[in-house]
Amino acid sequence: MNITEMLSFGFMQRALVGGSLIAILCSVLGVFLVLRRLSLIGDGLSHVTFGSVALALLFRLHSFYMTLAIIPLVLASSLGILKLAERARIYGDAAIGIVSALGVATGVMLASMAGGFNIDLFSYLFGNILSISSSELAIAAVLFVIVISGVAIFYNDLFASTFDEELAKTSGIDTGRINAILVLLTALTVVLAMKVVGIMLISALLILPAVTALQLSKGFRTAIISSAFIGVCTVVVGISVSFVMNLPTGATIVLVNFVTFLCAFAARTLLRRR
């Protein structure tokens, strides 16, 4: 099958457009999260998403309403992680662990109440971007605009807080508010990304393009742009390869990302030796 033929399918067009939008969000936010050692927040929030999906499935919500219904739950959980770390005087990773475990436990409990794991729940666990509908693509586009505008508006504050939080505070930046904005934007992105790679693999989409870009980047802005470029390329290649070779899409995207990371790592090692 050639590229023209592949692109002639409506579901492929939607998958490539939706996947690219979500890849840009994950890759851009990923740079901030990785550098702030918050990479696993994506993992924690995805587990909360699992619990929220199970709840939505219990009420037999249509997939279009599903995304809208779980957004507030995941947003609240993201703020919960921050508050827990702040108020309970525990480190961020422990707070992520607590919220993450709570999300999975709730999900399993609700799935059990609904009569066990079904095909719908599995499709959210492992993602199925090829089934993205026009209405879901529209939601993705709206959320893309919201998240990317948020990053653009707070770019310098996010950069300063990521570089050094104490120095950022002495520049008059409200780092507490910036941290909240970052996790809220991440929560929105996680909800979107669940469709592409599935709940189980969301953190890979947040981490891999960012760490790949960080291998070779010479500056913060170039790291952000490179990460977005790598994210889009790997998602497009992953979707195409999975379609042609009849492989699971989410897993293929993650493996393509990992291979890209290995190449960047090797290139960096070679450049350093020269």
Binding site: L35, F159, F163, K169, T170, L214, K218, G219, F220
Partner: protein
């Protein structure tokens, strides 16, 4: 309190129930170079954090450049250089130019955007500090001395009226340390920048500072450096050889 660069009255501060500072009262006139020293755990760094709004005091009044600290918003008028970055990541992908530019954020209101005047201020500071040739280098690739110089440039990029330095040369070799302090001294003399330097090194204070604050949870001495050298506090703290150890200006 209004004419002073910094005025503190009856300050009490601490962490989780323990007391780090009590009844601290002193003021710093504009253009002064104040060295702050004291033993480990004497509250030097806490004092800096309280001044900069990083730690909330339990009680007391603080006035920064004539404004109560709680309502102080003009952070561009204050430069801060810590001992090192809080959690420095040597792989952080920021260039020297980008790091210095971050210092310009304190002068901006939402949404903080950089313009041509920021580029010019960054260029000017890099040229003045002789680091223009490394503008494109990554911050993590630099030696400790150069990195502190870049962070000093970040602190100076707004030409602050008050510069706060918290043990800025701890990790530097003696030669780099010396050139670093000369630069600060030059700035204090030529630009009239008020300097607050926290250090363990009393010899450095003796060499460059005009005033000294000796802290041990409370103020033991605050005043002119030469007065300190002739004071009973100095003999009490450093013994009969204190004159030679601390007060000998090289």
């Amino acid at each position: 309190m209004n004419g002073a660069a910094l005025a503190i009255r009856n300050l009490r501060a601490g962490y989780h129930g323990s007391e780090a500072l009590r009844d601290v009262t002193f003021s710093v006139s504009r253009g002064d170079y104040l060295g702050i020293c004291g033993p480990n755990g004497s509250g030097k760094s806490t004092l800096v954090k309280v001044i900069l709004g990083l730690v909330t005091p339990q009680s007391g009044e603080i006035s920064l450049l004539g404004t109560p600290r709680d309502s102080f918003k003009e952070w561009r008028r204050i430069g801060y250089l810590p001992q090192g970055l809080q959690f420095f990541n040597p792989h952080f992908p920021a260039t020297v130019d980008e790091v210095i530019r971050l210092g310009r954020l304190s002068g901006k209101s939402f949404p903080r955007r950089f313009g041509r005047e920021d580029t010019l201020a960054v260029e000017r500071t890099m040229d003045w500090m002789g680091i223009g040739h490394i503008r494109g280098r990554m911050i993590g690739e630099l030696s400790g001395g150069l990195r502190q110089r870049v962070l000093l440039a970040r602190a100076l990029v707004n030409e602050p009226e008050l510069l706060v330095l918290d043990e800025p040369t701890t990790a530097l070799d003696p030669e780099t340390r010396e050139s670093f302090y000369k630069l600060i001294y030059e700035m204090n003399r030529e630009r009239g920048t008020t300097v607050l330097l926290v250090t363990h090194d009393t010899a450095t204070i003796g060499k460059y500072a005009t005033h000294l604050l000796y802290l041990d949870k409370k103020v033991i001495f605050c005043g002119d450096f030469d007065d300190f050298c002739n004071s009973s506090e100095m003999t009490g703290l450093f013994g009969e050889h204190g004159q030679h150890l601390v007060c000998h200006r090289h």
